[in-house]
């Protein structure tokens, strides 16, 4: 117990503060046991599991196709992106070749949902720092992306659109209309949002120099996604280990070096521009692709050969990996997900000590975590 007198001649004791799980700025139900000395944090113990649904066991108790809709519920802000690693892993076991058109549709939907997920990430970040109007505009923008998805597959968030060997449906006129709306609105939004936030003095003071992560630390703690790139590590799976047909496109990856909370905001906004560019390129490529099969020939009853397969993809939150072990039966023997948010929050214990309570909110918000993914 710390009983040194402070400047006012009063005793100061180390105490524990329960941060969450019922707290809006914890993005769900993250629980942090924070050791405080006065107003300064001196230690953090992150407690998770309040949203645990046993996702991996659910998948193991169902057939391959039945398990697919459950993967949407991991990172529920980008449903399609979670289908992809599971499907890719099972396809490795099945040894099927996916038609080019289906691959392009997979990429298009994944990029649209990546845009939507970044919108939520940025919007909630600004809202957690007190600017409530900052959340409305990204959510409007996200709605255009979700309209595209609901026109394509009927669901806004939990799409389960990707299937083994292809995708569920091809694009229709409704999708084209929704897509044109998205294309028309996004540049205006990006410009407007930069105007709204970039020079806001309160935002700058609450984020600049807060929660700095060096490139070494970021790599040591296995950070992935925009949080890693904001610390100066140039790594993006879409470019460095391409899956689907990403090798056909030139992926530009912005990299910042500051590694603080502000850099993580700027990183996301820069990436939004690149994602938007990529969406347009993929859509153009899809329109050039002759209409054809969107599903490979796969058996009605899936029984992948015994063995293990691992696939990973670049998700909005970082690298999502999926290990599938099969016994040659109807259901998988073991499914395991490498969930990016789960690995990203490990660094909290390192960067949070030394900051004030308000800065902890800023750090959590800047990581753009999703608790559905952390707890699995």
């Amino acid at each position: 117990m710390n009983t040194e007198t402070n400047k006012q001649g009063r005793y100061s004791e180390v105490y524990q503060l329960n941060f969450g799980p019922q707290h809006p700025s914890t993005h769900g139900v993250l629980h942090m046991l924070v050791e405080m000395d006065g107003e300064t944090c001196i230690g953090v113990d992150t407690k998770i599991g309040y949203l645990h649904r046993g996702m991996e066991k659910l998948l193991e108790s169902r057939t391959y196709l039945q398990g697919l809709p459950y993967t949407d519920r991991l990172d529920y802000l980008a449903g399609v992106n979670n289908n992809l690693p599971y499907v890719l892993a099972v396809e490795k076991l099945l040894g099927v070749e996916v038609p080019a058109r289906a691959s392009l549709l997979r990429m298009l939907t994944c990029e649209i949902m990546r845009l939507a997920s970044y919108m939520v990430g940025v919007g909630i970040y600004i809202m957690d720092l007190g600017a409530v109007s900052g959340v409305f505009y990204p959510f409007q923008e996200r709605e255009y992306a979700l309209d595209c998805m609901s026109a394509l597959c009927g669901a806004r968030m939990t799409q389960s659109y990707i299937r083994y060997g292809g995708v569920q449906a091809d694009i229709n006129e409704e999708f084209d209309v929704a897509y044109q709306k998205l294309v028309a609105e996004t540049p205006r939004f990006i410009e407007m949002y930069h105007k709204l936030v970039d020079e806001n003095e309160i935002f700058l003071r609450r984020t600049k120099g807060i929660g700095v992560i060096s490139a070494e630390d970021a790599m040591d703690y296995a950070l992935t996604g925009p949080n890693l790139r904001a610390s100066g590590v140039d790594y993006d799976l879409r470019r460095d280990a391409p899956y689907c047909l990403y090798d056909r496109f030139k992926i530009e990856v912005p990299v910042l070096t500051a590694g603080d909370c502000y850099a993580r905001y700027v990183q996301r906004m820069l990436e939004v521009e690149k994602i938007f560019q990529l969406i347009k390129e993929i859509y153009a490529a899809l329109k050039e692709e002759p209409a054809g099969e969107i599903m490979a020939k796969i058996p009605k009853v899936l029984k992948p050969a015994a063995g293990e397969a691992y696939a990973q993809t670049e998700n909005p939150k970082g690298i999502m990996g999926c290990l599938v072990a099969s016994e040659g039966k109807l259901n998988p023997l073991r499914v395991h997900f490498r969930r990016p948010s789960f690995d990203n929050i490990a660094i909290f214990e390192k960067i949070m000590p030394g900051h004030k309570v308000a800065d902890l909110v800023s750090i959590i918000a800047s990581f753009d975590i999703v608790l559905g993914e952390i707890d699995g």
Partner: protein
């Protein structure tokens, strides 16, 4: 000048505040649902149903409760077909699994009920086919003139589905 950025941001919010509203005034104005929308209720074309039970087998969450019996011609028929919607994920796998395309989702969205016992939907009591149906999972229509095939060759198999790829037309 301190506060310049805040004023600039306020300018944006003022401009957005007087811009046209995007919200739909729901009870007066019905939302526009895409044709492939999934959610709401189910509809069953009882005449087309062959009581195969594939929909129940496709369901990840055991939502579909079915009972079958056999008539005097040893033909299977359905005596119970209940969608326990309280467990439903609306993944649409049952609709996709139906070999006769007789199970559909509808475009109803006002499905709130007063009593929890009203949530399960008995499709034999009310098949809902008069409602507007969602085109989710619709298979491309079969080619209209069906010529008697002399021999099934792989080339003919490939040429047959020469149809619009969206499937709903």
């Amino acid at each position: 000048m301190f506060g310049k950025g805040i004023l600039k941001g306020l300018g944006v919010t003022v401009k957005e505040a007087v811009s046209p509203r995007l919200t739909e005034k729901y009870p007066e104005e019905k939302p526009h649902l895409p044709t492939r929308w999934r959610g709401g209720m189910f509809a069953l074309d009882q005449e087309a149903c062959i009581s195969c039970g594939l929909c129940a087998m496709a369901c990840p969450n055991k939502v579909i409760r079915q009972k079958f019996e056999k008539d005097e011609n040893n033909k299977k028929y359905c005596t119970e077909f209940v969608m326990e919607r309280q467990y439903c994920l609306y993944c649409g796998l049952c609709v996709e699994a139906c070999p006769k395309s007789c199970l559909h989702l509808t475009l109803e969205f006002e499905t709130a009920v007063y009593n929890s016992a009203d949530v399960p939907q008995d499709l034999l009591a009310n098949n809902n086919m008069d409602k507007q149906l969602s085109t989710y999972g619709a298979k491309p229509p079969l080619p209209k003139p069906v010529p008697p095939r002399p021999a099934v060759s792989p080339a003919a198999e490939v040429a047959a589905p020469d149809l619009p790829k969206g499937g709903e037309k």
